[in-house]
């Protein structure tokens, strides 16, 4: 039988919640016995996705929700970071290395590139009602999973 588990949290799109989101996912993934490198990769990818919600999704002072979901299926981690913000106009462009819609704000434009490098797969879906970034990573160091 496949091992499966999931968790979901919703929080406000505030930068103070970035650390919370990282620790939340990392703590949840510990049950797959990942290596320190794998956990750091996941934390970084989560941080990038949540940062996008904090910086870009809600341009007005009123910040909306970020829904962070993490699913485990055997050794596969699937993380989705969803917002109900303004959406990304050109996803292809947004994913280009060094592209930023806010060059004056000292942004590196490397968020999606980091996600793509640290995870096995990154998918982005966006429209004018929000954005969902879905990322997967197989935990190589996973030897056994806790059952029950």
């Amino acid at each position: 039988m496949k091992y499966s588990n999931f968790m979901e949290v919703t929080f406000k799109a505030l930068s103070v919640n970035e650390g919370f989101a990282r620790v939340c996912v990392a703590s949840f993934c510990v049950q797959l016995n990942p290596s320190v490198d794998e956990i750091t990769d996941i934390k970084t990818a989560v941080s990038e996705a949540v940062t996008n919600c904090v910086v870009h999704a809600y341009p007005t002072a009123v910040k909306g929700d970020v829904i962070l979901r993490c699913e485990l299926e055997d050794d596969l981690v699937t993380i989705s970071v969803t917002d109900k913000g303004v959406g990304i106009k050109d996803i292809e462009k947004a994913r280009e290395p060094f592209y930023t819609s806010k060059p004056s704000a000292e942004r590196s434009g490397m968020g999606f590139t980091v996600m793509e490098s640290f995870m096995d797969d990154v998918q982005v879906a966006s429209n004018s009602f929000g954005t969902c970034v879905k990322m997967t990573k197989r935990i190589r160091a996973c030897e056994s999973v806790k059952v029950g």
Partner: protein, 102 residues
């Protein structure tokens, strides 16, 4: 984020302690610009031995500081990056503008 700095001769040593992400970026920017304004500096060394986390927002902060110091002709060097920070530096080419020193 906690930032400690000391001047030795004409060099400024800066130690970044904690996590560098969007939440700490503004404070890091302001504090670094403040300590970097020390007069008659010849070089700046940023020590990352106490940096427990960094994402691409950190790269943006560092590139911003590089641009400012380039105008004053003061080079910035990186020392003691974690393997994780190193991975991001190599990916983004940061070492091309802020070389790593041992």
């Amino acid at each position: 984020m906690q930032i400690k700095s000391r001047v030795a001769g004409d060099a400024l040593y800066v130690l970044l302690c904690g996590e560098l992400d969007e939440h700490s970026a503004a404070y890091t920017r302001i504090t670094l610009d403040e300590v970097f304004s020390t007069p008659s500096l010849k070089k700046i060394i940023i020590d990352l031995s106490e940096l427990s986390f960094m994402d691409s927002t950190g790269i943006g902060v560092l590139i911003g500081r590089y641009k400012r110091m380039k105008d004053r002709d003061i080079p910035i060097y990186i020392t003691n990056p974690s393997p994780h920070a190193e991975k991001i530096f190599k990916m983004t080419g940061l070492y091309d503008i802020m070389p790593k020193i041992v």
